[in-house]
């Protein structure tokens, strides 16, 4: 039996856990969403949504150590959501790529790098997700498979095809 006091403590524990997760993972999740979507404001919304959903599902989360994986999966799923993307498009004017980091570089170099990101975002969804999880979060094939809910064989296949397509596109642009 759970008393009112215990229930309150559970809620406090949940909020503290959630905040710890926020501190540890929020920035990376925003960046992951940005990689998949291309818009920072929307990426922040997606990451926040993931935390809100985790909050709702906390009681059903059997193992708190699974929370980061849950957040990752949710971010990827939400980044897929056309509705979310459409709804926030007006709140945050499209910002193709940040340019602060490349201010010291030549225009040609920046264009080159942007082409890499543009080519990544132009890939089919699964290939894009596999590559983002692999080369940004450095996830193993097994973790990528768990995040996307597909087999490791599919991860290998999507990653291979994605890289091949990327190489081909970049060659064509060169």
């Amino acid at each position: 039996m759970v008393t009112a006091g215990q229930e309150k403590r559970m809620a406090t524990d949940r909020d503290e856990h959630l905040h710890d997760l926020y501190v540890a993972y929020y920035q990376a999740l925003v960046r992951l969403a940005w990689l998949l979507i291309g818009d920072q404001g929307e990426a922040e919304d997606v990451a926040q949504d993931a935390f809100v959903r985790l909050h709702r599902s906390w009681d059903r989360l059997r193992d708190p150590s699974a929370a980061p994986a849950y957040l990752r999966s949710t971010v990827v799923n939400l980044a897929r959501s056309g509705l979310r993307r459409r709804l926030v498009a007006r709140r945050h004017p499209p910002t193709p790529f940040p340019n602060a980091a490349s201010a010291e570089e030549g225009a040609a170099g920046r264009e080159d790098e942007r082409e890499v990101l543009a080519a990544l975002r132009a890939l089919p969804r699964r290939q894009r997700e596999c590559l983002a999880l692999r080369y940004y979060l450095d996830l193993s094939e097994a973790d990528i498979a768990a995040t996307l809910g597909i087999s490791t064989g599919s991860v290998k296949s999507h990653s291979h095809r994605g890289l091949a397509a990327l190489a081909s596109k970049l060659e064509a642009l060169a």
Partner: protein, 538 residues
């Protein structure tokens, strides 16, 4: 440098420049806190008539929270609304429909129906199954009957049976069958049959059945799992104790051998908590105060442990109450000696609806949104409606406020344009090559914008403006369904009307959508903001 190295390098270089705003945690807290404020809205919803529920929810949206971010208001809706109707059996033998909010009797379904212990309503809300006495001398004495929720004559379906339970997919009817009474008692069986389109000449197709081992054991609290495959029930007076058991509907196993869920002593399972996968139950605690004895709780079906306290029911007789969840698992009916009470997520305590009720069940909210429907329509899933329905743009023209609304629903994406008292729009994933919405307005950063959602195979959107200009743009983001959307950031300042929209695929015009008449405005456009983006999105 290989492609992999190049990709890794660029990804890390650019992602490191993305610094989220500092208010992320505050926004998350704000949104999770909204869930706890739901109770504030219950009185408003409770006061509404059945037909007014949606309207009240929409109206409430406008005042709950306004997140003034970049000049565009994004609103978070209030509490989830309960189904608006309840089917109940009265003590005088009538089957009636009650208003969820007030408990008022809305209509009578069947006089003399004499419904007894259990009522089940189909997921589409169209039909009611209930059990009733089959006659003073009948043995077994119970039978299952059915009647449409629109009313009509009750039809006898299955003799010697009771406790009907309808699967969430609406396909199967589970019930308890009773053998003729003997000195040892009355044997029970759990049966599952397919529900037919029509009951005329119906020959039940038995999908699964099982009989308890002992005649004096009784099956109680039959309820379907969300997967429409498993059933939970409690076997009273079983040698192992009255623990809930979970049976596969198609296995035909002996009921007394179904796996037991080892719940705590003093607790009982009433059934599944809607589609949450959790179980609804109650636990009895020792107390001299009637309203402290009975707690309604959520039980984990795997461990049997209590995972959440929902509310207290003011009943002094633990074990006589019946608990019923709606399909969402957010609303519960509790019926016992103290009367019929309802409870909704966010409520701190249940609200009494009526006395003199023998049995009751929610009438599920049913989606009224269908392809091509005009708004307002009810997407049926309150969670979708209440968490996703947002005002994506709004403004005022000619003294009339307008809003572009959007929300996700099982029928697909619903969008609507609302101006003054009128609202129009469409829902659905099957909308033909036309866009399902176009809106326009102004916000910080844009002089004026046009926004629309189109089918994924649409390759070109052409906007025909009132000043004669034409703007063509390519939808982006096409992946599945309505993934594609277009966005034109800078419309000419001199337009006074976005006349319509033409959609093309592979260079061929597929159709056009005219601007809704009630949004035709011909006044001078609103002033351009100072931050207007001068770069056309072309």
């Amino acid at each position: 440098m290989t492609t992999e190295e190049r990709l890794r390098s660029v990804i890390h270089k650019y992602t490191e420049t993305i610094e989220p705003a500092q208010d992320g945690w505050a926004r998350i807290r704000d949104r999770t806190a909204v869930r706890h404020r739901r109770a504030r809205w219950q009185p408003a919803i409770a006061a509404a008539g059945a037909a007014a529920v949606l309207a009240i929810v929409v109206a409430a949206v406008a005042v709950v929270r306004s997140d003034d971010r970049d000049g565009t208001r994004v609103q978070t809706p209030p509490a989830a609304s309960a189904p608006s109707e309840i089917v109940a059996a009265t003590e005088d033998g009538r089957l009636v429909v009650l208003d969820t909010a007030t408990g008022a009797e809305l209509r009578s379904l069947a006089d003399g129906a004499d419904a007894q212990t259990t009522i089940a309503v189909t997921p589409d809300g169209a039909r009611v199954f209930f059990d009733r006495p089959s006659g003073p001398d009948a043995d077994p004495p119970r039978e299952i009957a059915t009647v449409a929720t629109s009313g009509g004559e009750a039809q006898r379906l299955i003799g010697g049976a009771g406790q009907p339970a309808i699967s969430p997919d609406g396909r199967l009817l589970a019930f308890v069958s009773y053998s003729p009474r003997t000195d040892q008692g009355q044997a029970n069986g759990l049966n599952v049959v397919e529900i037919p389109e029509t009951f005329d000449g119906w020959v039940p197709n038995v999908v699964g059945d099982g009989t308890v081992g002992e005649a004096d054991q009784q099956i109680s609290a039959v309820s379907w799992a969300p997967d429409s495959r498993q059933l939970v029930y409690t076997l009273l007076f079983s040698p192992q104790g009255s623990y809930p058991r979970v049976a596969e509907s198609e296995s035909g196993i002996r009921l007394d051998q179904a796996p037991i869920v080892p719940i705590n002593d003093g607790s009982a399972v009433a059934g599944y908590l809607g589609d949450t996968g959790q179980m609804l139950g109650r636990t009895c605690v020792a107390s001299n105060e009637p309203d402290q004895r009975l707690r309604v709780i959520v039980i984990d079906p795997q461990s049997g442990q209590e995972t959440r306290h929902l509310f207290r029911y003011p009943d002094n007789l633990c074990g006589n109450e019946r608990l019923t969840s709606d399909p969402s698992g957010r609303h519960v009916l509790a019926l016992g000696a103290a009367g019929l009470y309802r409870w909704s997520e966010g409520d701190t305590e249940p609200t009494k609806i009526a006395d003199g009720i023998r049995a009751a069940a929610w009438v599920p909210r049913v989606a009224t949104c269908r392809d091509g429907d005009e708004l307002p329509c009810d997407p049926g899933d309150e969670n979708l409606q209440l968490t996703e329905k947002v005002v994506v743009a709004e403004g005022e023209r000619n003294g009339v406020g307008w809003q572009l609304l959007a929300y996700d629903s099982e029928a697909g994406l619903c969008v609507g344009l609302r101006a003054g008292p009128g609202e129009s729009g469409a829902c659905g994933s099957g909308v033909p090559p036309l866009p399902i919405s176009v809106g326009w307005g102004q916000q910080a950063g844009f002089a004026a914008f046009a926004q629309g959602f189109v089918r994924k195979d649409v390759t070109l959107v052409r906007l025909e403006l009132s000043n004669g200009d034409t703007i063509e743009t390519t939808p982006v983001g096409a992946e599945a369904g309505f993934e594609a959307n277009f966005f034109v950031a800078s419309l000419p300042e001199d337009i006074d009307l976005l006349r319509g929209i033409a959609i093309a695929a592979d260079g061929r015009e597929l159709g056009r959508q005219e601007t809704p008449r009630h949004l035709e405005v011909r006044d001078t456009p609103e002033p351009v903001t100072e931050n207007a983006d001068p770069t056309p999105n072309q």
